[in-house]
C-alpha cells in the first residue's frame, strides 16, 4: 500500500532533499578537507585542582614558534586569567581554556574564537589575528551574578 504523493509534492520534496544533501556534502567536505570543525578538544582535568595543574598553574601567553603562540586561560567567576595578552598582527594564537568553578563561555566577537568552557575539560580553539586592534574577549555563558562583568582583552599590535 503505497502512499500517493502528488507530482508537485514529489518535485518539491526532491528539490528540498537535494538542497539538504548539498548542505551536508559541503559541511562534510569542509570538515574533512579544510578541517573546519567546531572546537572539540577531548582532554579532562580535575576542576578542583586547576591552580595546581600545569600549565594552568601559570596561565598566560607562550611563544612556540615565530608568529605562533599558545595562550593558557583560567576562567573563574567573574574574570579570565590572563586579563590581557599582546601579540603582533598576523600571529596564530591557540587558546587553551579551562574553568575552575562553573560553566563559562570564551568568545572573541567577530572572530572564529568561540567555545564553551566546561569544568572538568580543557577547551582548545585557534585563530590567526590578521588585523591590529584591541579585541574584546567575553564570557558568553551565564555564570552568576557578575557574568556581565566577565571580560578580558586581546591586543593585536601592528
Amino acid at each position: 500500500m503505497a502512499i500517493h504523493v502528488h507530482r508537485q509534492e514529489r518535485l518539491w520534496l526532491t528539490a528540498g532533499l537535494a538542497i539538504l544533501v548539498v548542505f551536508a556534502a559541503v559541511i562534510t567536505t569542509s570538515a574533512i578537507v579544510d578541517g573546519f570543525v567546531p572546537p572539540s578538544r577531548v582532554q579532562s582535568i580535575d576542576p578542583t585542582k586547576v591552580a595546581q595543574t600545569p600549565p594552568f598553574d601559570h596561565p598566560g601567553l607562550r611563544r612556540v614558534a615565530p608568529g605562533a603562540y599558545e595562550a593558557y586561560y583560567v576562567a573563574r567567576i567573574f574574570s579570565f586569567t590572563p586579563a590581557e595578552i599582546r601579540v603582533p598582527a598576523g600571529s596564530r594564537v591557540t587558546f587553551y581554556v579551562t574553568s575552575a568553578d562553573v560553566e563559562h563561555g570564551f568568545s572573541i566577537p567577530e572572530t572564529g574564537v568561540n567555545t564553551m568552557v566546561t569544568p572538568g575539560w580543557v577547551s582548545g580553539v585557534s585563530h590567526r589575528f590578521a588585523k591590529p586592534g584591541t579585541y574584546l574577549l567575553v564570557c558568553n555563558e551565564y555564570c552568576g551574578a557578575g557574568h556581565q562583568l566577565m571580560a578580558a582583552k586581546v591586543v593585536v599590535t601592528p
Partner: protein
C-alpha cells in the same frame, strides 16, 4: 473515513455523554487559562529584560536580572508551552474519541504539573534558583527547583497515559477504524515527548541527590548531554503542537480539508523518529565531545527538516485547493481570499510566515562549524523568539480564540481586539527578532544583563540593536495584554451563545489516498525512536563516561 471530526449528530442527546464531554472541556479550558496566565507573567519579565539590556533600567537587587531571566525562560519555554500543548492534545483525543470517560487521570496530571510549577516558581522567585532554564551544573539551585521541574514532567506523563488509554480503548472498541487524525497527532507527539523527557529525568536523577547534599560532585559534561538530549525534542514538542493546529484546525477557517491523511501521519511518524537523535547540535562548541559525533547529529538534524518540508507543502496545498474550489485562482488572489480577519486563521498564518525565516536560521545554526559565529550570541535568542515566540506562540494564541468559546460556550470578548492582537504580536516579534539576529551577527553575547562592557570598543555597536529589541519587546508585551483582556473578558463577561460554537477539525480531502495501516502502529514506531536515540547517543555518552573521571562541586554564584 473516520478522520472526522465533528461530533456525530446526536439525535437523542445522551446526558451521561454530555456530562462527560463537559467535564473534559473544563479540564482543557483550565489548561488553556493556566497557559494564558503564565504567558502574561513571562511577557512582563521579557519586556523588563529588554529594557535592562538596552540600559534603560537597572533591575533592583531583590529582583535581579538573572532571577527574572530564569523565570522568563522557565515560564515561557517549559510552562506556557507545556500547559497549552497538554490541553490541546487532551482536546484532540477527547473530542475525536467521544465516550463516557473519567477525567480523574487528566486532572491528576494537571495538578501534578501545577504543583511542580509552583515549587519551581517559589525557588526562582526567592532567589535560590537563578540557574536559567537550562540549569547547567555545577550552578546549584535549591532542591525545590529540581523537584518542581521533575513533577512538571511527571505530570505530563500522567496526561500522556490518560490519552494513550483513550486511544487504546478506541482501538479495542472499533478495531476496523483508523485512529482519528487529531488523536493520532496527539499520541505521536506525546510518545516523542516521553522518549525525550527520559533524558531530563535521568539528569534529575543526578542533580537531585547532589542538590540534597547526598553526593559531593556532579559530572558536568554528562548533565549537559542529558539536558540537550531533551532540549531539542522539546522544540519539536512545541512545533508538533503547532503543526497539529496547522493541519487539523486552520483549514476549518476557510472550509478547507486535510490535504493528505497519509502524508500527515507520515510527517508525524518522522518527527517522532528524528526529533531525539539530534541534540548534539546544541553542543557543537562543547569540549569533551568529538567532532565526529557532532557531525553525525548535523546529519540527523538535516533529516528532521524533511517532515517540515512536507508540512509546508501540505499547508499551502490546502490553501490552494480550498481557494480553487471556491473559484479563486492565482497566487495573489488566493492570498487575498484567505480569512485574514479571523484571528484563528491569522495567528497561525502569520506564525507560518515567521517560521520560514526561523527555519532558515535553524539550518544556519545546524551548519556545524558555522555555529561558531552565532553560538551563544543574540542571534540564537533571535532564532528562538522567531520560532517558539513566532509560529508556536502565535498558533497557540490564534487557536485559543477558537478553543475558549468552544470549551466554555461563551462568546469571544472583543473579537476585533483579538485580531489586532495577532498582528501586533507579529510586528513586535519581527522587530525584536530582527534586532536580536543582527546584534548576534555583530557578536553581542546572550544571557547578559548589560552588554556595554565598560564602554569597550567592540561592544559599542550592540547598543542600537538592543534598543530596537526593547521596542519590539514592548509591542509584544502590549499584544499579550490584549490577549489577556480578550481571554479574561470572555470569562468575566460570560455571554453565553445559544448553540455552543465548535472548534471542529478539518475533514479529509476527497482526493486523499488511503493510509497504510503500518503508520498507526505507534508502539512499533516508539520502539524505533528509542533505538535511534540509543544509536545516536551511545557513542558520545560512552566518551563522557570513559574520558572523564572528575566531578565538580556545586556552587551558588548568584
Amino acid at each position: 473515513m473516520t478522520t472526522v471530526v465533528r461530533d456525530a449528530p446526536r439525535t437523542r442527546p445522551n446526558p451521561v455523554l454530555e456530562l462527560s464531554r463537559a467535564n473534559g472541556d473544563l479540564l482543557v479550558l483550565t489548561h488553556i487559562y493556566t497557559a494564558t496566565l503564565v504567558l502574561g507573567v513571562g511577557a512582563l519579565f521579557g519586556m523588563l529584560q529588554g529594557f535592562s539590556r538596552a540600559n534603560l533600567i537597572v533591575m533592583p537587587a531583590w529582583f535581579d536580572y538573572y532571577r527574572m531571566l530564569t523565570a522568563h525562560g522557565v515560564l515561557m519555554a517549559l510552562v506556557f508551552t507545556t500547559f497549552f500543548i497538554t490541553g490541546l492534545f487532551t482536546y484532540c483525543v477527547y473530542r475525536t474519541i467521544p465516550r463516557v470517560r473519567s477525567v480523574t487521570l487528566g486532572w491528576a496530571g494537571y495538578c501534578l504539573m501545577l504543583l511542580g510549577t509552583a515549587m519551581a516558581a517559589v525557588a526562582i522567585l526567592d532567589g535560590s534558583a537563578s540557574v536559567l532554564y537550562t540549569f547547567y551544573a555545577p550552578l546549584k539551585a535549591s532542591p525545590l527547583f529540581y523537584f518542581g521541574a521533575t513533577f512538571l514532567v511527571l505530570g505530563t506523563w500522567i496526561v500522556a497515559l490518560d490519552l494513550f488509554l483513550n486511544v487504546a480503548w478506541f482501538k479495542r472498541a472499533r478495531p476496523a477504524e483508523r485512529i482519528p487524525l487529531p488523536a493520532f497527532m496527539a499520541t505521536c507527539t506525546m510518545i516523542m515527548w516521553i522518549v525525550a523527557t527520559l533524558g531530563v529525568v535521568a539528569e534529575m536523577g543526578l542533580l537531585i541527590p547532589w542538590s540534597l547534599g547526598w553526593t559531593s560532585g556532579i559530572d558536568v559534561g554528562l548533565t549537559r548531554m542529558f539536558f540537550w538530549y531533551f532540549g531539542h525534542p522539546l522544540v519539536y514538542f512545541w512545533i508538533m503542537g503547532a503543526y497539529t493546529i496547522w493541519y487539523a484546525v486552520v483549514p476549518t477557517t476557510f472550509r478547507g480539508t486535510v490535504f493528505s491523511d497519509a502524508l500527515t501521519r507520515l510527517a508525524f511518524v518522522m518527527l517522532l523518529l528524528l526529533s531525539t537523535p539530534v541534540g548534539l547540535h546544541h553542543q557543537y562548541l562543547d569540549p569533551g565531545v568529538s567532532s565526529g559525533w557532532k557531525l553525525l547529529h548535523t546529519m540527523t538534524t538535516f533529516g528532521v527538516v524533511i517532515p517540515s518540508f512536507m508540512t509546508a507543502f501540505a499547508i499551502f496545498a490546502t490553501f490552494e485547493l480550498a481557494a480553487r474550489r471556491a473559484g479563486v485562482r492565482g497566487f495573489a488572489n488566493v492570498v487575498r481570499w484567505l480569512p485574514w480577519r479571523d484571528p484563528v486563521f491569522a495567528g497561525p498564518a502569520l506564525g507560518m510566515l515567521l517560521f520560514i525565516f526561523g527555519g532558515f536560521g535553524g539550518i544556519v545554526n545546524n551548519s556545524y562549524s558555522m555555529d561558531v559565529l552565532v553560538h551563544n550570541t543574540m542571534w540564537i535568542v533571535g532564532h528562538f523568539h522567531i520560532t517558539v515566540g513566532g509560529p508556536v506562540a502565535l498558533t497557540f494564541i490564534g487557536a485559543a480564540y477558537g478553543l475558549i468559546p468552544a470549551l466554555s460556550g461563551r462568546k469571544l470578548f472583543a473579537p476585533k481586539l483579538a485580531l489586532v492582537q495577532v498582528y501586533t504580536w507579529f510586528a513586535g516579534m519581527s522587530i525584536m527578532s530582527i534586532a536580536m539576529h543582527w546584534a548576534g551577527l555583530l557578536g553581542a553575547p546572550r544571557r547578559t544583563s548589560d552588554v556595554s562592557y565598560f564602554g569597550a570598543q567592540g561592544a559599542a555597536t550592540w547598543h542600537p540593536e538592543m534598543l530596537w529589541a526593547a521596542v519590539g519587546g514592548t509591542i509584544v508585551a502590549l499584544s499579550v495584554v490584549m490577549f489577556i483582556v480578550v481571554a479574561t473578558g470572555t470569562w468575566v463577561a460570560d455571554r453565553r451563545t445559544a448553540s455552543r460554537p465548535e472548534l471542529a477539525f478539518a475533514p479529509l480531502d476527497r482526493d486523499a489516498a488511503s493510509t497504510p495501516a503500518v503508520l498507526d502502529r505507534l508502539g512499533r514506531w516508539a520502539f524505533v525512536a528509542i533505538v535511534l536515540a540509543v544509536l545516536a547517543y551511545a557513542g558520545p555518552v560512552t566518551q563522557q563516561l570513559h574520558a572523564h573521571a572528575y566531578l565538580a562541586p556545586g556552587m551558588r554564584t548568584w
